[in-house]
């Protein structure tokens, strides 16, 4: 049994909020610079190089990469042999509060979806806890911008729709999103489970580094096929046309009911942020 204090959790979450908003994960940076090198359409190539220059500027000037510093999605992998001293959830909320204040990040959360008054500290965060073996606590902060979140969709397909129906729904969703989600995008796909679980799967898919394929060769092949098809749509960076519409696509699945085929597409922009730390 290991004891982790709420203060340690708060401090780590605050640091991760700031780091995630200033520096992209290595896999996303590699994909962006790679795309800027290989993009055949001149305007798209130039657009990608401006976006890469923005990443450099943010790092050098300690500025947020994008002004939409997101709703903080916090994923906790909590070892079952960990004892948390203090209030676990409140420690995460306080970490978000501090990180967004001390990092000069934008406060983008309204306390009620209809009455819409800004909470002015970017809380509450959206917290997901998963219990895992061991005595460590891994925290990942994903600041999620809503330009792309708004373009996400969910469908309860019929089993008879099969893989072709799933492919069509994913491609249609990306095509309908067009320029809005700030392409080049990252596509998180959930297939299976229930109405609520499939959306969580799609969000979780955005946590996987985009250069790691699904461990199941069937889904790895499907990921590659869909990414190629998306990059034939012609939307391109910023929607100005070009090959690079998506940088990566990750699929997560779970068992489902005999009568159903849920599918969810969670779209993320070229500023796909995540930062992790362990206690």
């Amino acid at each position: 049994m290991k004891t982790i204090h709420a203060d340690q959790i708060r401090d780590l979450v605050a640091e991760l909020c700031i780091r995630a908003n200033r520096e992209l994960p290595e896999d996303i940076v590699r994909a962006m610079t790679g795309a800027a090198g290989s993009e055949p359409w001149p305007l798209a190539k130039e657009t990608l190089s401006v976006l890469c220059a923005n990443l450099d500027a943010a790092r050098e000037k300690a500025l947020p990469i994008c002004q939409d510093t997101g709703l903080a999605c916090v994923f906790a992998e909590l070892g079952q042999d960990v004892h948390v001293e203090g209030n676990f959830q409140e420690a995460i909320q306080e970490g978000v509060r501090r990180g967004y204040r001390e990092g000069y990040l934008r406060k983008s959360v309204v306390g009620d979806p209809l009455r819409r008054v800004n909470t002015e500290d970017n809380t509450p965060a959206a917290i997901t806890v998963e219990f895992v073996p061991g005595d460590a606590l891994k925290l990942t902060v994903v600041p999620k911008g809503f330009g792309s979140e708004n373009m996400s969709r969910l469908a309860m397909l019929k089993p008879a729709d099969g893989v072709e129906g799933v492919k069509k729904f994913i491609i249609d969703t990306v095509a309908a999103a067009g320029a809005n989600p700030c392409p080049p995008i990252v596509v998180g796909v959930g297939i299976g489970g229930t109405f609520d679980k499939v959306a969580a799967l799609a969000k979780h898919a955005l946590l996987r580094p985009i250069d790691q394929t699904n461990p199941d060769p069937y889904y790895a092949a499907l990921e590659a096929e869909l990414l190629e098809e998306i990059n034939r749509l012609g939307i391109g960076p910023q929607g100005f046309g070009g090959r690079t519409t998506a940088l990566g696509l990750c699929i997560e699945t779970m068992p489902t009911h005999v009568a159903g085929l849920p599918v969810a597409v969670n779209i993320s922009c070229h500023v796909t942020r995540r930062a992790s730390g362990e206690l």
Binding site: W41, L43, A44, T47, V50, L51, A53, N54, A57, A58, K61, A62, L63, P64, I65, C66, Q67, D68, T69, Y104, L105, R106, K107, S108, R116, N118, E120, G147, N150, G178, A179, N180, C182, L233, G234, I235, G236, Q238, G239, F240, G241, G242, R243, C269, H270, V271
Partner: protein, 187 residues
């Protein structure tokens, strides 16, 4: 083509711009996004004056990050313009001449652009750190309770923009992807 534009911008100047042209914009720009647009509509409905003159105005759809000590503004890239589609035709009919944002617009907005000889310019979505560097002065005009959505008056210099929808209604979001896809057919 690349144009340097300084506010106030005339309708004649705007009529020269074509979808895909580059613009370096300098001068006065007002910020307003979702909540501020809703309040502008409420003022218009009540017949009350607006916080800034609409005639010939440039509105940038942006909610910047807070400025750090010594900075004029934080990161300041565009938000998705489509959410302002319900409001823009009315503002264009009342004199607003330039919108700055990102992403496509509705048919009603395109009609209002044509009808008024206005233009819609795209800023680089997700390039907040670079866009913020073009802002030389900032003043919060009103609605501070809206936080990042408060209306601000910005003085910008050489703000890099792309003509997204020109005064004839042509859109880069249609013509750009079409030109790229056509280039593949030629091969």
């Amino acid at each position: 083509m690349e144009y340097r534009l300084q506010t106030p911008i005339t309708k004649e100047q705007l009529s020269l711009l074509r979808a895909g042209d580059r613009v370096l914009l300098s001068g006065t720009v007002y910020t307003a996004r979702d909540a501020a647009h809703k309040r502008l509509m409420e003022l218009l409905d009540a017949g009350q004056p607006l916080p800034f003159p609409l005639e010939g105005s440039v509105i940038y759809y942006v909610g910047p990050t807070p400025e750090q000590p010594g900075q004029v503004i934080g990161s300041a890239g565009p938000t998705t313009s489509g959410r302002m589609d319900a409001f823009s035709p009315r503002l264009l009919d009342l004199g607003q001449s330039v919108m700055i944002g990102k992403g496509g617009r509705s048919a009603a907005v395109v009609d209002a652009i044509r009808r008024n000889g206005a233009v819609y310019l795209a800023a680089m979505g997700g390039a907040g750190a670079l866009m913020g560097a073009c802002v030389e002065a900032l003043e919060v005009l009103c609605w501070e309770d809206l936080g990042c959505e408060a209306v601000r008056r910005l003085q910008v210099r050489d703000m890099p923009l792309t003509v997204a929808i020109d005064s004839t209604g042509e859109s880069i979001y249609d013509s750009g992807p079409a030109a790229y896809l056509n280039s593949l057919k030629d091969k």
